[in-house]
């Protein structure tokens, strides 16, 4: 596979449309379902769809991370929260802002769609890279994990370290709030 073009097979297209449809339907269900627990399960559906999308984008490490963190940890935390608060509140009602919020979201979507389709993106497939550079690029996508680790340890080491402090702060904060008097 060259870096300039993704797998443009029919299978790829078909799978993409299936996954995309799945994710959009699941996302809609999150918003529309009355039962909070079912909505949470729909959310897990979205997470899983995104895992597939990441695989299709040659982002294996991210796909795994998505599966573990989102599909695993975050889903469990959310379901935990749902179960904890479930006995007093069953449904997932909406507030009075339905119509304006819908118009706002629709407007946002329209603008973003316009932006996406009217921007001159500098596509990799169209870039005039030297053959050696193309090979190097293909190599990166073929085995992205070590390259990604390298990036995290070099260019993005600052946010990486700060993120660890951030996680620590969040955990301490959450524990402080949960501690019994």
């Amino acid at each position: 596979m060259t870096p300039s073009g993704l797998e443009q097979s029919t299978a790829f297209t078909v799978i993409w449309w299936v996954v995309a449809a799945m994710s959009v339907i699941a996302a809609t269900l999150v918003v529309r379902l009355k039962d909070v627990l079912r909505a949470a399960l729909a959310l897990v559906g979205v997470f899983i769809s995104v895992v597939f999308l990441f695989f299709m984008l040659n982002a294996e490490l991210l796909a795994v991370a998505q599966l573990l963190i989102y599909g695993g940890a975050i889903s469990i935390l959310i379901i935990f929260a749902v179960l904890l608060t479930r006995d007093v509140h069953e449904g997932s009602p909406s507030n009075a802002l339905q119509v304006p919020a819908f118009l706002l979201s629709a407007g946002l979507l329209a603008v973003m769609t316009f932006v996406i389709n009217n921007t001159d993106w500098k596509l990799l497939s169209a870039a005039r890279l030297a053959p050696a550079a193309q090979e190097r690029a293909a190599e990166v996508f073929a085995n992205s994990t070590p390259w990604l680790a390298g990036l995290l340890m070099r260019q993005f080491v600052l946010p990486f370290e700060v993120a660890s402090v951030l996680l620590l702060a969040a955990v301490i904060g959450a524990l402080a709030l949960l501690r019994e008097e």
Binding site: V30, V31, L62, I69, A81, L109, G173
Partner: protein, 118 residues
Amino acid sequence: MVGLQHFLTLGAVIFAIGFFGAVTKRNLVVVLMCIELMFNAVNIVVVAMSRYLVPLAMQRAPDSTDAAVAQTLLTGQVFAVFVITVAAAEVALALGIVIAIYRTRRTADTNELKLMSR
């Protein structure tokens, strides 16, 4: 043919759905779920950009075989890594607060939180 625009549009759709839910939902946990939808949408967008777009370093040096330059292809994925991390931290904290609220109020409905909005 599926291309960059397809991924971006998909991201935009999920983002808009999440936004709609985050603004309209009354249950705190559901609002949190909708926010996670928005973060996932951002992740789809950045990872797709990472895959389809040529990063600046390669635009500048189209004939370079330098490992550092090639590596910048993955900047979008790094982006997603951090988004996932922050999302995890936020969910953990949110859970802590939701439970604290539940302890004092025994409800998780945003409309019940009327104490202050007179």
